[in-house]
Structures are given as structure tokens and as C-alpha cells.
Symmetry: D2
Subunit: 391 residues, 4 copies
């Protein structure tokens, strides 16, 4: 049972992640994690914060000598910016100095207002610090470890950008194995060079307009065995768990697996993926699908075909041309607070979503194959894959 | 803590739901549940099974004298069809009689194949019986109770059909309060009469073509307090929980909250909902949104505006013009099994989604306001709503 | 992940248990369950209810043709006595007939009073029906299935009575394998014939005194692999989980593993179990303990030695010589309600505790070895045991 | 929903605790936590480690300006000793320097051997670091916060020592409110001065003998409302949850609530606590028990009487006169490793158990009264207590 929880305020000490139930015996290096932290910070359209922070992981527990112990892993990504906020964010002394003033102009599209109502705060900073997408640094760090685990079983993942604002890319024909190489060449993590250029233009224009852009991201995972997740109970279906994890990422407002919304106008005869046999052995087993409109899941389980998930991200909600809001002390209409922000963070979402999906898949692996140590998982995995290939 | 689990095979004894942690003291009648079971069975395009079954709830535990006890509630919807399957589905004796033959031609788009590989079954019936959407009868029964609970707090919900196959309805301007009345007048639960007629035509044509259709459903919930769910941890965000529950419904392949995918091309200035003040008291509190593109959530919490969720449903995967599959004994290419099936069940999804959303919202209510008994919940709710209206 | 929940009121339709996550492919027969339901009803000192009920399991879901499906298993033990209570316990109509009168004299030692306060009930029957030890029939049924699962791995369990009232047995030297055979020869499930006779005398005298007796029960499990549970997090320690499960059994007020309280006066040098090596292969591995004062756990994990747990059971709380209580309508001091009851149910606890322990161990097996199907579990188990024996 | 997880190796960076779901708005000071960390380190019989460490909490997340935010709270107790172990415990570089040598002589009574088998470690240090009771520093820090929360509702707790080795104290007549003051005057946290002196003598002698001692600890909590926990499902019974938490504390081998094992020889008429009425208002409600043999729980719920729990602690398992064990490389019989250790840590357990109980009770409070913020909890609590006092 893999359990993953984050902690940390955006301008507090750091972003933290506790990963409980991670198997022992996995060899890991700092770069396995730091590489993904760095990827998360990239992308045309990011603001000043990404220049201040240069995220690196600090392992506080659970790894020794480059090997996971089976103990809870506690990861810290310290906030370099904390030095500037120390007196405003001190755990014990009342807020003082820069950042100490109460935030009473909640920003539309953020947790500010609702969080203040729910938790009885009279300072929206007590909400926005936690609700910030800074938290995703913690989840990327955890997800990077999960990627390393999945790699031992041959599983790989890649996320990329499909749409930014009105600009759509055409990437359906790109093989999954090529996505990463293509995506890193683009400043917006888009594999379609023409679309990539247009996206950058759109972001530049949005920045000039003091506006912001959202978009669509796709994540694919491949070389998966069939049978992760289950059809037997609602809360263990793999699509359900992926949806919970993905929709919990800040600013994600929609999710589809395979064709999703794009497939509803098709009749069944042009939607469902026929089953063919092709002797293996392969991880996905000898039964293949002639197409993969389902995106790699049937009945709440992975089919062994590529898992394909798309996410809709709303635009950044902190605009330099601020939206109208209400002063919570006076109830007068005012401009929303302008926190330092990005113009577009869709490229970052491609990385975050990849790492979050890795965490969900690692959880499913551990549940199916046991999670004490890598060697034991590998024995269970190998014998399962062998049994599937004999069917 | 509300926990909801179902059990039951499609041609077994019945569909069952255990609802643990449901508050004591709620007055309920059989019709509170049976009305929704009946709604689930309606809709143009349903097949023969819906004519055999005439679902009614049988309460096995947790309700006495029309009042919930606080004890686990166990609901049964007995399968009238079981009489015909008794010897094929008997718990103890080997399958015999009609339905007893091994299913070795797994149906594309179903759990049949993957479930057989995962669980080591040599008869796909041992999978398909549980994976069947018959299971939703159990969840509708549970959701109907949750609706009754929410109604005590003034919360209401309505689901309706937005699209079937290529036919889209235009329903954005319809007030939520009118949806149910309009939807029940349509044989496909669509509030737009012109679209409704076109949908029926499309289904009729699909049936002629021995094909099947999917579609899009929208569910709205209103009179919600702000602050259900939370921004503090990924797995308690209300959108995340809704997504998990919704994506666990059979055949759902996509979900969006508010504009979702339809909103990604908008710049932030035309997406985010400005905050205005309007003295209450109202359940949603005195802070309103000038628009509701977010669909009623911010930062993983309800805002007090209408909650709007849309689901993409793939076509029914059992076609009368069967898809190609593989014989699991011989590995030869064959036609898939034809189980009795519907041509289109999008209307049913509108009802199911409504009930599933009610369950998720009831869970959030119980978490926020305590869940021992209705009177205690009401005291907590009233004092919270009062405190919000004083902000 | 094995999840087990019960439902049902004592005089309602029946006792029910939902077992979610139980592996597919286990062959079971009705007698595997019914034999333990019958054992639970035995024991000198039981009252009239056990003569009315003759418990048999009815499988409502999850088993077909004598094989588990991997689907949720729903077990029913119908209450034969319900016929006499139908109008008092009807889910929809107000209580009428025998048993319908409000219970306002809460019984000391029962949930009656506190449950009524917590859940806002004005009729203690709405509490006592659920709090009754009748619920253990459901857990015995589930535990019996878990025993069958464990038996596939060679694991066996036996519970027996160590003390009733002031009468203690001397059973430390009895090999675990002989316990069951000896225990069933005793009317109080005690392996020491002299103590058994004295216990029966004590119960007879208590009955004459209109009083009741408690006692101590021991459960042992053997042929366990090392490493069930874990030291890494508090809530997964096997002792912690066993304790939670055991202390949840009605009337259990204490628990110890190994010497427990009896060992606290020993110095460490006479408590701790030295480690010796003895080439296997055996399930417990080649490292043995020279003694087993720890009772089979170290650091929150099974050691491979026998697991030994003792439970303290308070006397039945419904006396024929009733205790004083308070009328909840008038606040006057009155005699407590006399529900039909037993004089001593310690023998039943031995059976119940055995089945509950089996459920906890099955949960740990599934977590460690994966739980999709028996064949897969067996492959993981065999490879783990082999790896342990190579150490 | 309060979730509490620890992380950290004994000679690693520190002991950490993540507390998720803790209410917002609680005023706390460093001393609220540090005072209990200091108490944990006290007690005659502790070894050198307690002189090296001088535990203080460092809040990494969730508290700002002395007020809880509702965000996850991450607490660190940094290990001062880490400086000496940095190269042996480094997350990335192979172990080097002092402490780097592989531990292949597993200590009896510890997790060393079983943990190494389960997780596939060839160095028992990879187990013992996590299994160490150093982890309790993290749980004490979390529990100290929970105590502060409970104090807002008038709930208090006190733990003290009842027995060390063969020396028993007589403390049944001591009022709970006096326990803390008396216990802190004793070097072994025992309220009975004569027993306290004898206990110290026994420890001194054990130390001379290179041996170790265990004992019995009692924790009481008072001013509790009735109805924490529930009778409705096995895993939410308050005794079950307390047992899980308590038995997860290192070296605890037994637990009893109220009379527990000491009560089994009594007949029911001398065990069960009669109910009397005494108009309030009081937190516990107007119904009192004439005695409290049950120790404050009935039917899995708090009764409003004092909650009384006793724990059996085995002796420290690291003896200076080492026990025999096996070399895991050679399978030869050898002496066990001597890690720096205490002679007796029963006094520490009294503090730890108090804090762990506080965490379990805080969890139950949050579940019953909602846990968003203190003000909301207080409103729910007050209205519930008022309703109970009207019964």
C-alpha cells in the first residue's frame, strides 16, 4: 500500500512529500529526482519565481547509500525564497516584514476566498500559501521516484502539450517513445514544431495583454502489464484512481482517457478496439487491440496497450490585469491581489501529470505485486507476465 | 466517514450496496429509493433486461420504522432474472443449464479479457458478471439515500443528457431547478425537445445498424455551502473525489468540471469568475461569482455556486453486429459474444451520475459537519452557514 | 487490500458481511463456513437464542460453482428469529407488536445509553440491535473463508479457553496442533479436562446466582512466514492490527501477545528469545527462536514462530439479577432491561477470536503477496519462502 | 479525518511527523511541544542517547504566527547525533566511517532479523534504524499538538508508571487530576513514593546485572464527552483504535481497558458499572456510572467516565549482557550486537502513551465534531454537549 502526502507552504520552508510503503532495494540517484524538478520549472511563459528557485531534493528519511530502505521516504525541496519571507511566515512569531500584511482581497479562480470561509481565516495568505501550485514540486519529487521504480519493470511515461490557448498541435501519430525527445526541444513541451512556435506567440501576446493561457496536456505510459486496477469495486478502478490524482493537480478542470469526449460522437463499431492475438512474450501479453481508442483501460483495468490520458488546464488565475473581487473587511468591490505569477504553465503540467501518473501506477504495481522489496516485486511480476503470456 | 461498497453479479442474486457511516435520524420511505431505481431503467434505447427487471429496494439492515439507525445500511436490489440463471450462477454447485457454458470469446470494450488474465479465470463470465453496469443499480440505491440526506440541507441535484452520438443539445441557459421537470418529459432525458427528437432518431438508426451510441451527460448540484472538500491535501479535493467516483461508473471515459475542455481556449480574463458581494443569508454565503465558468469549485472546494460536472460516455460495447475478438482456447479470431444489451444508455447515465454525485457530496457533508445524526449535522451546518454569512 | 465490513441488527433480517478484495480461485464449500458458525453457537452457558438460531451461510455474491470470483463476497446469516420480530423491526413501518415498545432503561455494560446519546435515539433498541454480539456471526463467516485461504499456505489456527471466572487452566505445554481436538471435547472449549469441569461448575453456580462470568481466551496461529506486518509505520504493525481487530470484538477488554502482562516482571535476559539457525526449508524460515515469549512477533512483524494472542473478556452484561440503571424519560432509578442472554460466552469467544485473527492474517497475506488470485499469491509466497530459506 | 504518519531513521537526519487534517485556528507555542519531548527523555535508567539528544521541535509546515493553518503540519525533531553518523547514513553515498559496517548479528527481541528477511536487506542496520523507539519522538511531538487541541475542550490526560520489573505501585485511589504533579516528582514517573524508590533500586540492580526491565504503564483521560468512537462497525470502535495505536508503540505487548485481565475473575454483578443520574451540565453528560470498572468505554464508545488504559511493556531488548543470535553470513551462533541503550524506559512509555492516546482521541473528536477549524469544532461540541445534558 503506497501512501503519498505532501506538506508545505509556498513561501514557507519548502515543499515536502512523505512516501510511505515504497519498496526497499531500489537504487536511486539525486539526479533521478532533480532532473524532473528541473523539467517542472521550465517552459516559456513562467514567471520570476522559477528563476529564484532552483529546486533540488533533500532526502530526510528512507534512503541510505543510494538505496531505498522500505522505510517512509521524506523528501524536502527547500524554498530558497524563504529567506525573504522568514518573518512573514515564521511558525511562532506574528507575521512581520514583507508579506506580513493580511490578504483580504481574494483572487478569483483561487482557493483564497473559499478557504478563508471554510477554515475561519481572516487572512487569505493562510490559504493561498498551501493551495499554491508550488505544492506540485513535492509531488514531482515523489513521482520521480515512482518513475524509477516503474522503469525497473520496463514501464515508461511521457507527457507533452497538445494545446495552449486556441493553438492545437497534431501529435496523434507520434510514437510514444519519441515524445520525450521531441518535447524537450520545444520551449512549451510540444512535439509539433509549428504548433510550438504558434503557442509561444500566443503566450507572448497574452503576456502583453496582461492575460494568461491554459491548455491541454497528454500523458502516455507504455509497456504496462494488463490488469492494473480492478473491475470489482468502484474505488479501485484504475481510471478512477488516475482521475482522482489528476484532478487534484492545481488548475486541472477536465480529464479523459483515450478518445474521451472526442469519441462520444462515434458509433460503437468505430469506437471499440477489436482484440487480436500475437504470440509474445511481451509485458502486455499476447492479446493486443487492433486500435486503442479506449486509451489503455477496459473495465477499470489496464489492457496492456498504451495508457493515454488528457487533461484540461484552466488559465493561470493570477492576472497582471486583475479581476474584480471583494474586500473581505469592507465588502467593497476591489481589484484582486497580484501575486508573482506565470503567464502560462501548461508545459509544467505535462511534467507534473507525468509524475502524478507514475505515482498512481506505482501504487497499482505495489498493490498487485506486493511492495516489500524490488526483488520480491520482480519475482511476482515476472511470474504474472509469464502466466499471461501462456494464455 | 461515509463508506460505500457494492457487491453482486449481474445474473446473480442481486445488486447490493453497503453504506457505512450514514447518519441516524433521517426519515426515508421506499419510494425515496425506488423512484430513482425506476428512473435508471428508463430511456429510449434500452434492451430487454430492463423489461425483465423492475427494480425495487429491499433493506436488509440499518433502517427501522422509516428512520435510519446510524448502523450500516445494507440495500438489496434482487435480480428477478436470477430464476433463469440459478443453476448457472449457483455459489456451490458447478455451473449447469442456460448460461453455464464457458465464455471464451471476450468482448472488446469490456472487462472480459483483462479480468480473465488478471484473476486467472478461464471463463470470462466470472468477470463480466461483476463488471456489468447492473452494478449501478446498487449505487443508485445508495445515492438515492444520500439525495434524501442532502435534501434536508436544501441541496438538490439534476442530471440530463447533453449529447447522444453526434446530436448535441443546447441547454446552457436552462435553470437548474427546471432540469428535472424538462428531462423527465424526454425519452432520452434531454431538456432540449428538438435535440431530444433527433437523439431518438439517431438511436433508432443505430439500432437498425446493429450499432450503439454514447454521449455526454451533465449533472448539476445547487444550494451547496462553500467549503466542501479542501485545498490542503490532494486526495480530499472535492473535484478529485468527484472525478474518482464518476470515472468509476461503467463506460465513462471523460469528466470535466465547469467549462473543462471547452474552456481551454479562453484567456484567463474570460475564464475566471469575478467575486461580488450580495448580502444574504444564503447557504452559499454572501460572496457570489459573477459567472460560473469554474463550475462551482475553486482550490478543491465547493464555492457555493452551482456544481456542474459533465461526463463522456463511450457507446455500449456489446453490439448486435459483433466486433472481432480471439478465442481464448484456440487463439483463433472469432466474433465476440453477444450478451443481451442496450443500444444507448446515456439517459441512464444521467440518473446514475446524479446519484453517484449525491454520494460524494454526502460524504463531504458528513466529513465537514459530523455524521452521527441528522440533528447534530444540522446544528453544525446551521452554525457554519451563519458564520459564513457574517463574513 | 482486503476490506471486511459487517451489517445487520440482532433481531433484524440477518447478520451480513462484505469481504472486498478476497482472491479469486479459492475452492470453498458451504461446510467450510457453516462448521465455524456451528462452533460459535456452542458452549455450556449459552442461552435460548442459540437454540432458536441454527446459523447457516447464504452467499449473496462473489462465489460461483464453489470457487471465489475475486468479486466482493457478500455473506448472509439469516436470522430465523426475525419472524417473531418482523413488525417490531420492519424497515418502513413504525414498530408494532412484540419488541416494539421503546427501551428506555439502558443496560449497564452495553452500548445502550451511550449509543442513544451519540445518535440521538430515544429508543435504546435502535442501538442495542446493532451493538449485539450477534454481529460476530457475520465476522465468523468471513473469518471462516479467510481460514480456508490461509490453509492453502499451510497456516492453521486454534482458539481455546484459558480461564472462566476464577477457574484457570494449565495449557501452556499443549502443542498447538492438538488444541482443536482437545477443545472440541470440552463443553467450554478448554483443553484441560479438570479445569473444564470446574469451569462448568462455576457457570452452573453463576446461573443459579443469576449472574454471569467472563474469562480469558488464547488463540494460536502457526506455520506462518516471517514478515507479515511491518516495522515501518505504526498502523501496519501486525500486533497493532491484531489488537484493533480483537479489541473490536464485543466484551473484549484486554489483549496480550506472547507473555504480555505476565512477562513484565521478568528481566530482559529471561524474556527475549534467542535466535538459532536450523536449516530448512520451512515456511518460518531457517532462523528459529529458542523460546517464544514474544508470542510470534518482533518489531511489528510475524517472526515465523507461533503467533500467540490472549484476550480478556468481561462477563456478559445482561444479568437475570438486573443491575440498577436510569429511566431515560423520568430520570428515576430502575432495573435494567433483561434481554434474553447467556450466562457465559467465553467458549464462543475462542471461536470468534480465531476467525477474526484469520481475517487479519489473510489481510496481511494479501498485502504481502498480492491478492488477485490464489495461483498468483502462491507463486509470490513460494518464491518469498524460498528466498527466506536461502538466507 | 486526522492522519498521522512518521518518518525518520534513528541515526538519520531526524524524527519527523506529518499530521494531516489537523484543525485551523489553534494557538500553539513551541513549549507546548518541547515540554513533552523533554518529558519523554527523562526517567531513571535511560542511557547515553538521551544525554546527546535534547529534543526540540522544528515546524516545517502548517503553523504560522503561532496558529495552525489547517494545512498538513510537518514536525521535525532533528537528530543532534546525526553529525556523528552522517557518512554512515548518507542518502546517496555508500556507508562509510563509524556505523558503516554491516550489521549481520540480529538482536533478539528487535525487528532486525525479520525486517532483513522481509525487505531483503543484507545489513540489519537498514531495519533497526527505522524500528528504533527513537521514532516515538515524532509521535510525541504530534501527540503534544493533539493534547493542546483536546485542552480546548477541557480534556486532560495523564500517564504514569504502575509497575517496573517485579515492583508494583498502588495508585488506584489517586485522583487523575493529581497524577501529573505526583508523577513528575518521581524519577520513574510513579505516583507511589515507596514503590518509586523500590523501582529505582530494581533498575540499579538490573544495570549492575547488565540486564533490563519492563513494566506496566497506565494512562487516564478525563472530561471526555460520551460517544467518541462507535458501536456500528468494528474498525471505528474507540477501544479498537486505541489498541491499534498503543500496540504500535515499540515494546508494548499487552493492553487493557479498565479492569481488563484483572477483571475476568469477577462475576458480572461485581464488574458492570451501574448507571445513575446526576443533573449537569457536564461534558460527560448527566448519566454517570457508580463505578468505572469498564474504564470509560461501553460498546466501543467513550462513556463520559474516565478513560483508563494500561499497557504492558517488555524489557529493553538490547542487553549489555548480550543474548545469543546467529551470524547471517556464516550461520554461526554469536553474541548479539550491543547498540547504545537504556536499562529501563518504562517512564518514557508513560509519556509516549499519553501522547499517542491524545492523537487517537483528537482523531475521534475531529470525526465527531468536524475538523476544519477550532471555532467550528467548538460550536459542534457545545451543541452536542448541551443536547446530551438535556437527555
Amino acid at each position: 500500500m503506497l501512501r503519498c502526502f505532501s506538506a508545505g507552504e509556498s513561501h514557507g520552508r519548502g515543499a515536502f512529500c512523505l512516501l510511505d510503503g515504497f519498496p526497499a532495494g531500489l537504487h536511486v540517484s539525486p539526479d533521478d529526482i532533480n532532473a524532473w524538478l528541473a523539467e517542472r520549472q521550465k517552459g516559456y511563459g513562467r514567471g520570476g519565481r522559477q528563476r529564484i528557485e532552483n529546486d533540488e531534493v533533500d532526502v530526510l528519511a528512507g534512503i541510505r547509500g543510494g538505496v531505498t530502505l522500505g522505510s517512509p521516504i521524506l523528501l524536502a525541496v527547500w524554498n530558497r525564497d524563504f529567506a525573504n519571507w522568514a518573518s512573514a511566515m515564521d511558525p511562532w512569531t506574528p507575521p512581520a516584514g514583507p508579506g506580513a500584511e493580511r490578504v483580504v482581497h481574494p483572487r478569483p479562480g483561487h482557493a483564497d476566498l473559499v478557504g478563508a470561509l471554510k477554515y475561519g481565516h481572516d487572512d487569505c495568505r493562510n490559504v493561498l500559501e498551501r493551495a499554491s501550485a508550488r505544492e506540485t514540486a513535492a509531488r514531482v519529487a515523489a513521482g520521480a521516484l515512482c518513475r524509477r521504480l516503474l522503469a525497473e519493470f520496463g514501464v515508461d511515461l511521457a507527457g507533452h502539450v497538445i494545446q495552449i490557448g486556441p493553438v492545437e498541435a497534431d501529435t496523434d501519430s507520434i510514437p510514444s517513445e519519441r515524445i520525450r525527445a521531441l518535447a524537450v526541444e520545444s520551449d512549451v513541451r510540444c512535439c509539433d514544431p509549428a504548433a510550438s512556435a504558434a503557442m509561444i506567440d500566443a503566450i507572448r501576446q497574452a503576456k502583453r495583454d496582461k492575460d494568461a493561457l491554459g491548455g491541454v496536456v497528454e500523458v502516455r505510459a507504455w509497456s504496462l502489464p494488463p490488469g492494473l486496477g480492478s473491475h470489482v469495486q468502484w474505488d479501485v478502478k484504475i481510471d478512477a484512481r488516475i482521475a482522482q490524482a489528476m484532478m487534484s493537480i492545481q488548475a486541472v478542470k477536465g480529464l479523459e482517457v483515450g478518445l474521451g469526449f472526442r469519441g462520444v460522437s462515434r458509433p460503437g463499431s468505430r469506437f471499440h478496439d477489436e482484440i487480436v492475438y500475437s504470440a509474445g512474450p511481451r509485458t502486455g501479453g499476447p492479446y493486443r487491440r487492433a486500435t486503442n481508442h479506449a486509451g489503455g483501460t477496459e473495465g477499470g483495468m489496464t489492457t496492456g496497450e498504451e495508457l493515454i490520458v488528457r487533461l484540461a488546464k484552466k488559465p493561470i488565475a493570477t492576472l497582471m490585469r486583475p479581476l474584480r473581487t471583494v474586500d473581505m473587511d469592507t465588502h467593497e468591490s476591489v481589484d484582486a491581489l497580484r501575486e508573482r505569477s506565470d503567464t502560462c504553465a501548461v508545459a509544467a503540467l505535462a511534467v507534473i501529470a507525468e509524475c502524478v501518473l507514475a505515482t498512481t501506477l506505482a501504487e497499482a504495481f505495489i498493490e498487485k505485486f506486493g511492495g516489500d522489496d524490488l526483488a520480491g516485486m520482480m519475482r511476482s511480476f515476472d511470474s504474472y507476465v509469464a502466466s499471461v503470456n501462456e494464455r
